[in-house]
């Protein structure tokens, strides 16, 4: 009955459209009243949920991503991708995917990736003769790579949702191959479509110009060296590397590229405050929700329930994927991670699935959820930039969904994809 009060009130409040963060908070308070737990204990958890030092990596990565997205780094990464793959048939679509890979390595946000790469690439693709809907679909699907390729602030959220016991550096490394696999699968789809539909190819860029473009883009790519090199070299913690990357992105944007105006900085900060505060409230309230779930032994009961269905790891992984894909269609990534991790992680661990591997499965599912209606933030942003309706985009997204499901199955059933790179590093 206790669990029913907590989960039932949460479901009911979510269904009537209450913000998910406050839903987590209110259902925790209702459950605390139900079992006569002092309210101060819940308040303490809400506050403690936001006072973890490693959480600071989230605002830093979001801020660094915003600075780089708007400060001209996205355009330079697109130019770099053009010299590498622009001359192939369907080149601009491939440029879009590759630019997302590069940009994912500096921003970590699918929405930011769609907004920045889409603004540059979609008009160019349309001008070159690519269909508007296809251009939008390539942009939104390519941006899912950013969820996986380090630095991913969602990996930080997963680490926290798992109780902080999973190394953020391991999660960052684990995301490298799944992210690249995502890009590779999309590249395959784009190449096939380009040949079947006769998409154009661009002229190769002359060597001298190519070198200049590459040098110009290197400033942006150094960010990933600062983040990963700093963490793996034992110089910084993940939070410190994010802060240094933030400062570096600011210096490059304002003093090296000099495309961004000082007077636009408050707007950028305003937008970042909104994004990060929304995530932080979710994290704070979910800490209270997680605490109530632990008191009511819900994760243990969920483990019993799932294990009663099957004890076959492969079947369970399939079941979990179906569940997460379904949840992803109407839940945003951060709330999905915060709600599902405490419930599903114990089941996975019991079946011998590595928590880092499960993190990647969760992120891939959540990433696909970002581009599925009815709730798909990346899909919404892509449609707005491509100036196409969600219905038009959804009708032609099926081959992309198929490709991403293939990537999901590979990430799910080939744990080495996620675990090999972290296994090389000991902390």
């Amino acid at each position: 009955m206790d669990a029913l009060v907590l989960l039932g009130s949460f479901t009911l409040l979510c269904a009537i459209g209450m913000p998910v963060a406050y839903t987590l908070g209110l259902s925790s308070l209702i459950a605390a009243l139900w079992i006569s737990l002092p309210m101060e204990a819940v308040m303490l958890k809400i506050s403690d949920g936001t006072d973890d030092f490693s959480l600071l990596a989230i605002p830093f990565f979001v801020l660094a991503g915003a600075i780089m997205a708007e400060g001209g780094m996205a355009t330079r990464l697109v130019n770099l991708a053009k010299i590498l793959v622009g001359f192939i048939r369907g080149g601009l679509a491939l440029v879009n995917v590759l630019a997302s890979t590069f940009f994912g390595a500096v921003s970590g946000s699918s929405v930011a990736d769609t907004a920045s790469i889409g603004t540059v690439m979609i008009p160019q693709m349309i001008r070159a003769g690519y269909p508007r809907v296809f251009s939008t679909n390539v942009t939104i699907c390519g941006s899912v790579q950013a969820i996986l390729i380090p630095p991913s602030h969602n990996a930080v959220i997963y680490s926290l949702a798992a109780g902080g016991s999973i190394s953020i550096a391991h999660l960052f490394l684990a995301g490298v191959f799944p992210g690249l696999l995502f890009g590779l699968c999309l590249t395959g789809l784009v190449l096939i479509t380009a040949h079947r539909r006769g998409f154009p190819k661009s002229e190769p860029v002359p060597l001298r110009q190519a070198l200049r473009i590459a040098l110009d883009a290197v400033w942006g790519l150094i960010t990933i060296v600062i983040i990963l090199g700093g963490i793996l070299g034992g110089i910084f913690t993940a939070t410190e590397s994010a802060a240094v990357a933030c400062l570096y992105a600011f210096i490059v944007t304002m003093f090296v590229y000099r495309d961004y105006r000082w007077r636009d900085l408050p707007r950028l900060l305003h937008r970042t405050v909104k994004t990060v505060a929304m995530v932080m409230m979710l994290i704070g309230f979910s800490a209270a929700f997680g605490y109530m779930m632990a008191i009511m032994q819900i994760p243990a009961r969920a483990t019993e329930f799932f294990l009663a269905l099957t004890t076959n790891t492969y079947a369970m992984l399939l079941l979990v994927n179906v569940l997460l894909l379904a949840l992803g269609t109407f839940l945003d990534l951060a709330p999905m991670i915060l709600i599902c991790t405490p419930i599903l992680l114990p089941v996975m661990v019991k079946l011998g699935v590595d928590p880092v591997h499960f993190g990647m499965i969760l992120l891939v599912n959540g990433g696909i959820g970002l581009i599925t209606p009815p709730v798909g933030p990346t899909l919404f942003v892509g449609c707005a930039i491509g100036r196409v309706s969600m219905e038009e985009v959804s009708r032609e997204l099926w081959p992309f969904y198929g490709t991403m499901i293939l990537a999901l199955l590979l990430v799910t059933y080939l744990p080495a994809l996620s675990l090999w790179l972290p296994s090389l590093v000991r902390f």
């Binding site: 409040l13 979510c14 269904a15 009537i16 459209g17 209450m18 913000p19 998910v20 963060a21 406050y22 209110l26 101060e40 819940v42 308040m43 303490l44 809400i46 506050s47 936001t50 006072d51 973890d52 030092f53 600071l56 605002p59 830093f60 801020l63 997205a69 708007e70 400060g71 001209g72 907004a115 603004t119 410190e240 802060a243 240094v244 933030c246 400062l247 961004y260 636009d264 408050p266 707007r267 950028l268 900060l269 305003h270 970042t272 405050v273 909104k274 994004t275 990060v276 505060a277 929304m278 932080m280 409230m281 979710l282 704070g284 109407f330 839940l331 951060a334 709330p335 009815p374 709730v375």
Partner: protein, 172 residues
């Protein structure tokens, strides 16, 4: 009266975003400062980490209230969008009541928590009370409550509000 209240809420919104933004900038500067002191000056500073965490709490709860006014909190709208207008109005009314209740809880019991911990001091900052670290919870609750009242009583904030002036700049 309504116009004055709306103006006051706009000022409060600007204050929330201003304080949160300033906190974010300060955090972004003091963490690299800590790294600089550790590696370059070889004299590690102990205060940047706890100060950053403290500012993070301020940032989260004040920013969270601003996020409510800007209506950018994540919500599941599938059912709300599927029902008829009268049911939708009812559901949104219930959401406002539930939100107000949550914020009232945050304010009252958050205040209780602040009172209970007011006489303890933060180890790294002996002049500051532990209660201060919990103060953003009731403050965030109170501010959100005021914004809920604005939405119910005055209606949507004016289209000229600063809240809407944060679109990304598109470079040529």
């Amino acid at each position: 009266m309504k116009a004055y209240y709306a103006q006051a809420m706009e000022a409060l919104y600007v204050a929330c975003v201003g304080v949160s933004g300033a906190s974010l900038v300060v955090i972004t500067l003091i963490i690299p400062y800590g790294v600089f002191m550790r590696y370059v000056v070889n004299s590690p500073a102990s205060w940047p980490e706890p100060a950053a965490v403290l500012l993070m709490i301020v940032f989260s709860f004040l920013g969270g209230a601003a996020v409510y006014r800007a209506q950018v909190h994540i919500a599941v709208r599938a059912l709300v969008d599927a029902v008829g207008p009268s049911t939708q109005r009812l559901m949104l009314g219930l959401v406002d009541i539930a939100m107000a209740l949550t914020c009232l809880f945050m304010f009252l019991w958050g205040l209780e928590l602040v009172r209970a911990t007011w006489n303890q001091v933060i180890a790294e900052f002996p002049l500051l009370s532990v209660g201060l670290t919990y103060a953003p919870v009731p403050l965030g609750g109170l501010l959100t409550l005021l914004f809920i009242l604005e939405r119910r009583w005055v209606g949507e904030p004016s289209p000229t509000s600063l809240m809407y002036r944060d679109q990304a700049v598109v470079l040529e």
